[in-house]
């Protein structure tokens, strides 16, 4: 399991209402981009700088600050890679 990459330091207002947690079991990701496509705030992408143990570019959150915690990414993921907490 890998946590999403650290987002920019939170402002005091952001710290009061904690951000959702979006956790990827990265070794299961197949880079299909279904999560990327359904995310309403478009904060997901494939990390093209590396590959996971299966040889795929894993999906990551690149802007957690904009995450609404809707869980759509987790819902559509065919491989149950993503856990979302709010």
């Amino acid at each position: 399991m890998q946590a999403s990459p650290p987002s920019p330091p939170a402002s005091p207002d952001q710290q009061k209402s904690a951000l959702p947690e979006v956790i990827f079991a990265e070794d299961l990701c197949k880079g299909c981009e279904l999560c990327v496509t359904v995310c309403p705030t478009k904060i997901l992408k494939l990390d093209t700088t590396r590959v996971n143990i299966r040889g795929y570019n894993p999906a990551i959150v690149y802007n957690l600050a904009e995450c609404s915690g809707c869980g759509s990414c987790a819902k559509i993921c065919p491989d149950s890679v993503i856990t979302v907490r709010r």
Partner: protein
Amino acid sequence: MKIVYEKSRGLTDVPMHYCPGCTHGIIHKLVAETLVELDVLGRTVAVAPVGCAVFAYEYFNCDAHEAAHGRAPAVATGIKRVLPDNIVFTYQGDGDLASIGMAEIVHAAMRGENITVVFVNNAIYGMTGGQMAPTTLVGQPTTTSPLGRSRLGQGAPLRVCEMLATIEATAYIARVSVHTIPRLNAAKRSLKKAFQMQVDNKGFSLVEVLSTCPTNWGLSPVDALRWVEQNMIPAYPLGVYKDIEGGT
């Protein structure tokens, strides 16, 4: 922090072998979640098809039978007659259900067997490498219709929900898709309804799920979702085709 979404305990820990973006994974999740939410997982028996989902029993966390190609509704009939208090479901693709298994699905429906059928329709034969299916669209190229399915000689697609809805002893027949979040949510509601009908001994239920096959359609997983929207939904309208409880 509350869980918004996590992996269902209706699934095992075995990583799925399906192609990237294949909707089998999504449909497995919806079925698994439904079984957990209805609290029937411990008395469920799954019947796996021949097709990409031949290893479905590796992923569903319940007892299971592998079935010969197309025969899952007959196998399910045997199981349900012996174990009427168990929840018995089949999970079948378009070759399994609408080609070699056509007699079995029609007659299980005819008898009103109190089972639930999950019908995964992706208009092609996935596991064997992309041949034409009964549900392949006219004009759709496959490895056995290389110039596109020809109306002359190869016919036109079978609409399973419409056909089975004419059978008197069926209880619930619905067609759904999982290519957007709203459609996925509606698909889950349909599955829940279908399984609840079995719990309530209401009779035969079937949910047809329009699905993708990115590998054999020659599309990226995301483009494959769009293909469902643009091509499959006009050919296979979503909706409830039979509901003895009168719902929609």
